[in-house]
């Protein structure tokens, strides 16, 4: 049997394999260096970045839930200038494309961020977060209205030549409507899903657990929702999908590819096993060999 091909193309971004990291769960990449070989990743997606530095929300910012977790970080980040100055240079040494996840308060912010990042050679692609449930401004409202989602996408598209991946919010009635709107506005690829809006209540104190009251649900609990949405979106639009939401192992990753994802991102699993990305990559390879799959691209959307 010939060599297994794991290379995929995510809307113009060539990846050596389909495994990436979910924004916000992998820091700026080097945090996991003691445990994994970063060069084996198909791409690294870094923490959500904004024009200005942000301190994020008050604590507690995290709560564990059955088979999942809620977070309300609130996009704490050092701002795009500090990112480019302090965090990007060491990532350049690694033979893995860097995807920057960006967020703004206004359509204009997204455009400005895109043009700043367009000037950074070692940024391989932009992932546009129009779906963060944890910030009052610039978060969810862009991701829940097709017109504003399209406006943000257009603004980014006009300001960069790099592949534009738009990350959709699952907190909508019809995900395919959102997908069509951003693809028509120029998205090269789609990422889904971001976290599902949720909450928890401490029955002892009779108060919400998170200081922010609401948070974003991620982890194994959201996997069925993510798979369903990826399946629907794969049917509705032609662009490739970066799939995520509860991927814990190689088998989960295969299910996402079969549903229609071209690449997958590992999020919450990084917390339960700092080697999760490597184990998932190995798991994908093992499945392919066991099932006689020579090219991982054969799997994409095969469940349809």
């Amino acid at each position: 049997m010939g060599k297994l091909n794991l290379q995929v193309n995510l809307g113009g971004l060539a990846m050596k394999n389909p495994v990436t990291t979910a924004s916000g769960t992998f820091g700026f990449g080097l945090e996991f260096a003691p445990f994994i070989d970063l060069a084996r990743l198909g791409a690294i997606v870094v923490k959500g970045t904004t024009l200005e530095p942000r301190e994020g929300n008050a604590t507690p910012r995290m709560a564990e839930t059955p088979a999942g977790m809620l977070n309300a970080i609130g996009l704490q980040n050092p701002g795009v200038d500090a990112f480019l100055r302090d965090y990007l240079p060491p990532l350049r040494e690694i033979e893995t494309p860097v995807i920057v996840n960006l967020s703004g308060n206004s359509v204009d912010d997204y455009g400005r961020l895109a043009s700043i990042l367009d000037g950074a050679d070692s940024v391989a692609a932009l992932e546009v977060n129009i779906s963060c449930p944890n910030v009052k401004q610039g978060g969810i409202q862009f991701g829940t209205l097709p017109a504003s989602a399209a406006a943000v996408t257009r603004s980014v598209r006009e300001n960069t030549k790099k592949p534009v991946i738009v990350k959709l919010s699952p907190n909508v009635t019809d995900i395919t409507e959102m997908a069509r709107a951003v693809v028509d506005a120029g998205a090269d690829a789609l990422a889904l899903i971001n976290t599902l809006l949720g909450m928890d209540i401490d029955i002892r104190t009779r108060r919400p657990v998170l200081a922010n009251i609401f948070g974003g649900l991620s982890g194994p609990a959201v996997k069925p929702v993510a798979l369903r949405m990826i399946y629907q979106v794969h049917k509705a639009v032609k662009v490739p999908i970066l799939g995520m939401g509860g991927i814990m192992n190689g088998q989960d990753a295969i299910a996402f590819l079969l549903a229609g994802a071209t690449a997958i991102a590992v999020g919450t699993a990084n917390f339960t096993n700092p080697r999760a990305t490597m184990d998932i990559l190995d798991g994908i390879g093992e499945y392919c060999i066991r099932e006689g799959v020579r090219d991982v691209n054969e799997l994409i959307g095969a469940a349809h």
Partner: protein, 297 residues
């Protein structure tokens, strides 16, 4: 505040399937777990912690951060001291010897020690420019906050320094591992709120009557937040140096998820800054100088 010469980051952390050598209930709800994890044990520094994955499945999903109670690089073992707080620690307490447990670490920046203090065995954490000859180390623990203190006490005692432990708890049932400190030659004073052991009252009472032995006290504090705050305030009033080990809800423990932040003072107020920033307890701490911490808010 003394300047810090180095700070430890996670660059030396490892993932280990540690074999449980023993699991012992010291007092109701308080357990000591001894683990074989040679690679990890060799890298530990006083005040660091490990992430402990209690299940293979989804309940509980996230690892639990637990301080390193003792480590021996030569024997390749470390121990954890914990009290059962809920699901995760409850499940941990039921694991028998012989089973293996997935842990990763050592994580975080531990206690800072004077530059001229060497212990000979373990690599020391962040050194600071204070003179050990003129310093009296005072360990202040509240309840399970005793957990990360023995390696620190050992380092000071091995360097021939006098040392004091002030240990407060609600009652005698929450006082554990005192003999570990007395065996090292640490002078131990106990306070309980119900008077069932030592003097009646809080640990701050013991601190107020501190015999400084002609030296400058350096406080190393771990316990519930109100206690940390009270001790920090007292230290501030008296001009004593004070380090505190903070706790926050953690996911990654690696500085990646930003769930574990605390407010740390900055000196940017003059330039119109807000005077604080969010620091990560898992990698910028868990140990901070008490004067760096914004206690209210």
């Amino acid at each position: 505040m003394p300047t810090q010469k180095t700070s430890s980051i996670n660059s030396s952390a490892v993932l280990a399937d540690a074999v449980i050598l023993s699991q012992e209930e010291l007092k109701a709800g308080f357990f000591r777990l001894v683990l074989a994890a040679p690679e990890l044990a060799r890298r530990c520094q006083p005040g660091q912690f490990v992430q402990v994955r209690v299940s293979d499945g989804v309940a509980p999903l996230l690892p639990r951060p637990i301080s390193i109670h003792s480590f021996d690089g030569e024997l390749g073992i470390l121990s954890l001291l914990y009290h059962v707080a809920g699901q995760g620690t409850g499940k941990l307490s039921r694991l028998p010897a012989g089973e293996s447990l997935r842990i990763w670490g050592p994580l975080g920046k531990g206690w800072s020690l004077p530059e001229n203090l060497t212990d000979g065995s373990a690599a020391m954490p962040a050194y600071v420019d204070i003179d050990k000859e003129k310093t009296l180390p005072v360990f202040v623990a509240g309840g399970i906050g005793i957990a990360p203190l023995p390696p620190l006490a050992k380092a000071w005692r091995n360097a021939g320094s006098e040392a004091l432990l002030l240990y407060g708890a609600r009652s005698a049932g929450q006082i554990v591992t005192v003999d570990e400190f007395t065996a090292m030659g640490v002078d131990v004073r106990i306070a309980t709120e119900d008077g069932s052991a030592g003097v009646t009252g809080r640990v701050t009472e013991l601190l107020k009557e501190l015999d400084r032995k002609g030296k400058e006290p350096l406080l190393y504090v771990c316990g519930p937040k109100p206690m940390l705050q009270a001790v920090a305030q007292l230290a501030d009033e008296r001009g004593w140096l004070c380090q505190v080990s903070l706790e926050e809800r953690m996911c990654c423990g690696l500085g990646a998820c930003l769930s574990c932040v605390c407010k740390k003072k900055t000196d940017d107020q003059k330039e119109g800054g807000k005077g604080w920033t969010h620091a990560k307890v898992c990698t910028d701490g868990p140990v901070f100088w008490s004067r760096e911490v914004v206690w209210n808010g």
